[in-house]
């Protein structure tokens, strides 16, 4: 990957790093200090295990804390972690994820969510058609494929974890559920930061769902009142497999936004709603269509203009 723009030094993004400069921290008194925010590689010694605790991305051998992944060193009080620069998605409860059904099992679906194991979506954690209050029936277990089938895309929230670390999802909100009218873009999960809202609408008539697992759904904008349907819940549309009619301009807007995301991800630029909006405006100003965005020079120019240099 060639990067054509100049880089700003890595700026502290977490409070641990920001808290570094206070010199009268008692931790700094002993000799082996942790070089916070510096880059480390597997097998490199970070510090002594007497003074610090080992966190993710490290292991202890012969009383030394040693990095096991390539990334930046972070410290929270006595805990030293290495945040890997490229890794699978590490789920946390409450995260919004976009996933794809891989398997239908008794009373549950398996969902690929770019994590180390497939996520689980229990039949009891989805909204069934016929009202939010409706209870699960035996007949629902027999017709699970009418709700979600293999290959279906959905947006969900991480509800809990099982003992083996697999995550359990839920779609018990009108915001969540089956996805249609758009396309999926996959980016490294590191590039999607936690935002106030992961549902964004761009003024070009495109809805965006930024899944924290690096799966991004780009789709046609649906008006708030249409989304809810009659009585706030429409069984027909929520599990429908059919796209709404999408006009030419919306289609090109969707593919343009999708390609912008691909270009930014190829340059490893973290995605936010403001950045995407700015990038979209840039493409409109420069009269760039979806296809020419993938030309290397155009992509480089886009990144150079929207990313902080």
């Amino acid at each position: 990957m060639r990067l054509m723009f100049s880089f700003a030094p890595f700026r502290p993004t977490n409070f641990a790093a920001a808290a570094l400069p206070d010199d009268d921290d008692e931790m700094d008194l002993d000799g082996d200090d942790v070089a916070v925010n510096s880059i480390t590689l597997p097998g490199e010694t970070i510090t002594s295990s007497h003074a610090y605790m080992r966190g993710h991305g490290t292991y202890v051998d012969e009383e030394q804390v040693i990095a096991s992944v390539a990334g930046t060193i972070e410290r929270v009080n006595k805990l030293v972690t290495v945040r890997a620069i490229s890794t699978k998605y590490n789920p946390e409860v409450g995260d919004l994820v976009v996933g794809r059904i891989t398997e239908v099992q008794p009373r549950r679906w398996k969902v690929d969510a770019n994590s180390r194991q497939d996520a689980v979506l229990l039949l009891s954690s989805v909204n069934l058609p016929g009202g939010v209050q409706r209870r699960k029936l035996e007949s629902d277990e027999l017709q699970m494929r009418t709700f979600f089938e293999e290959g279906d895309l959905l947006v969900a929230e991480v509800q809990a974890f099982f003992a083996d670390g697999a995550m359990s999802l839920h779609t018990r909100s009108l915001k969540y559920g089956k996805l249609r009218n758009g396309q999926l873009v996959m980016v490294p999960p590191m590039l999607v930061r936690r935002l106030k809202s992961h549902f964004t609408t761009l003024p070009c008539g495109v809805d965006l769902i930024l899944g924290l697992n690096g799966y991004i759904w780009v789709s046609k904008h649906v008006k708030q009142n249409e989304q809810e349907g009659e009585e706030g819940f429409d069984a027909e549309t929520i599990y429908s497999n059919r796209n709404d009619p999408i006009d030419e301009s919306t289609r090109s807007a969707i593919s343009r936004v999708a390609n912008i995301i691909r270009v930014l991800a190829a340059h490893f630029v973290p995605l936010t709603d403001t950045l995407l909006l700015e990038a979209y405006e840039w493409t409109v100003e420069n009269d760039t269509d979806a296809k020419s965005l993938l030309v290397e020079d155009v992509g480089d120019a886009l990144v150079a203009s929207v990313a902080r240099t």
Binding site: P9, I39, L41, G43, S68, A70, S86, F268, V269
Partner: protein
């Protein structure tokens, strides 16, 4: 046992102009490959290997899942055009299966598989060009691809081939040297100096073994330095790109 090719001439040069202990050109490419979680292309002289790593991810076959650690799956494929004579090797080839099994057993103690129970790590090795030191290139490429994928490793694994011509030890053999000279492949963990792999397909005099083994260990440290440089460059580039975020940064937004 006079061969047609002079393995080591009187001036101390080998058939490709190297000295006894000189390694071949090493080129490392860590750029993103399609949908792989981590990838590396490594070139040792005229031997080139491309490795893609996927995972940890859900195991494709339920029978392969282990409840306490991740399963490592290695598949090697050799391109038909990789050798001097065009030759198609299929996946069931015994030599290729053995190569895959060797790579797997080399990395099992190095990858921290216990962090990923019930998962699977897929390592796909593509051999693009062969000119000796195939196992060494496969192992070196796999180490870099795993590190690039963010999979926790105890340490890098640095592999190198050594051989003995008459009484003269040599490092990083080419194909013609490998055909003529007894050789041994050694993979070391440079931090601790531990050895995860020693294989020999030819017979080597026991008195010569220690010397070449020690030399291979030292050569591993040299290769390690190159690995670190390549991975540090790649990581620095990515961290730099992450820092070049949107113009309106989080801090500025808070002020509004």
């Amino acid at each position: 046992m006079a061969s047609r090719i002079e393995i080591l001439n009187d001036g101390g040069f080998r058939s490709d102009g190297r000295r006894q202990y000189e390694l071949r050109d090493l080129a490392i490419d860590l750029s993103q490959q399609a949908s792989a979680d981590g990838a590396a292309t490594i070139t040792h002289g005229l031997t080139q290997v491309m490795v893609s790593v996927f995972g940890p991810r859900e195991a494709k076959m339920r029978s392969q899942t282990m409840h306490d650690r991740a399963n490592i799956n290695v598949e090697v494929s050799v391109a038909a055009f990789s050798t001097g004579e065009r030759r198609k090797r299929n996946r069931g080839d015994k030599r290729i299966l053995e190569l895959a099994a060797t790579i797997k057993s080399t990395f099992e103690p190095v990858i921290q598989t216990s962090l990923y129970p019930r998962s699977q790590i897929d390592i796909f090795v593509q051999v693009l060009e062969q000119d000796g030191g195939l196992l060494q290139a496969c192992i070196n490429g796999t180490t870099l691809a795993l590190a690039n994928a963010g999979i926790p490793l105890i340490d890098f694994v640095c592999a190198v081939t050594g051989g003995v011509h008459l009484t003269a030890p040599m490092l990083d053999l080419t194909l013609i040297e490998e055909n003529d000279v007894p050789h041994v492949s050694v993979a070391v963990l440079p931090k601790t100096g531990k050895v995860t792999l020693v294989t020999m397909e030819t017979r080597l005099h026991v008195e010569r073994f220690e010397e070449i083994f020690r030399l291979a260990g030292q050569a591993g440290k040299v290769i390690h330095a190159e690995f670190k440089r390549a991975l540090r460059d790649r990581t620095t580039t990515l961290v730099g790109a992450m820092g070049a975020g949107p113009r309106i940064s989080a801090e500025e937004e808070m002020e509004y």
